[in-house]
């Protein structure tokens, strides 16, 4: 089983993306192949320079930085959404692979999770 976790929500404002990341990390921890796809405002998870001290929240970019340790296979990022939010693939907080979102992309995974 190969899984894709889709994060299409902005970080910090709600807990849905965070709970999706927890699910993805759990799959990886149980040795299931899993990748993440960031799209829409979800690409902001990968923005550098996050500091949520004033919100009394954890740094989500740092949380995502543990992806490799858990054994997450790849972080994919929608290149159109990157452009919409003035982000460039060279300056992200974690190494991510730009992709074009299409039915074919989703078709490569057995299990797709979009919380």
């Amino acid at each position: 089983m190969t899984a894709l976790v889709v994060i299409d929500r902005a970080p910090y404002g709600d807990w849905r993306g965070r709970e999706a990341v927890d699910m993805g990390f759990s799959l990886a921890a149980f040795d299931q192949p899993v990748s993440f796809l960031f799209t829409g405002p979800g690409v902001n998870w990968l923005r550098m320079g996050q500091d949520a001290t004033e919100l009394s929240q954890k740094n989500l970019a740092r949380q995502l930085g543990a992806a490799a340790i858990f054994g997450v296979e790849a972080l994919l990022v929608d290149h159109k959404a990157l452009a919409a939010y003035q982000l460039s693939v060279d300056t992200l907080s974690s190494p991510a692979q730009p992709v074009t979102v299409s039915p074919g992309l989703y078709g490569q995974y057995d299990h797709i999770l979009c919380l």
């Binding site: 829409g40 979102v101 039915p103 074919g104 078709g107 797709i112 979009c114």
Partner: protein
């Protein structure tokens, strides 16, 4: 393997568009809950499209109101769609 896409968001929800962008021609799209409102809209929907009858009825969408290419199914029909494929995506 074709996918079954299940979407429950209203047509103006950002997730609804994310869903549409993932549906291949050979896929099936099932509209549930607020998404059944898309069955009366002019926007074309990709794939083979069904809408859940309980949700259509709640929202007052009669068979005559919905686009001709959209099938009405009940929960038994919903289960049948899930028998046909293991690639099921809930948007």
């Amino acid at each position: 393997m074709p996918s079954l896409h299940i979407v429950n968001k209203a047509p103006d929800h950002a997730r609804f568009q994310t869903c549409l962008a993932a549906v291949a021609d050979e896929d099936t799209l099932l509209l549930t809950e607020n998404a059944v409102l898309a069955a009366v809209m002019a926007q074309g929907l990709p794939g083979t499209v069904f809408a859940l009858s309980a949700d259509l009825e709640a929202r007052g969408l009669a068979p005559a109101d919905i686009m001709a290419n959209i099938g009405r199914i009940d929960f038994a029909g919903f289960v049948s769609l899930t028998e046909a494929t293991s690639r099921i995506i809930s948007w």
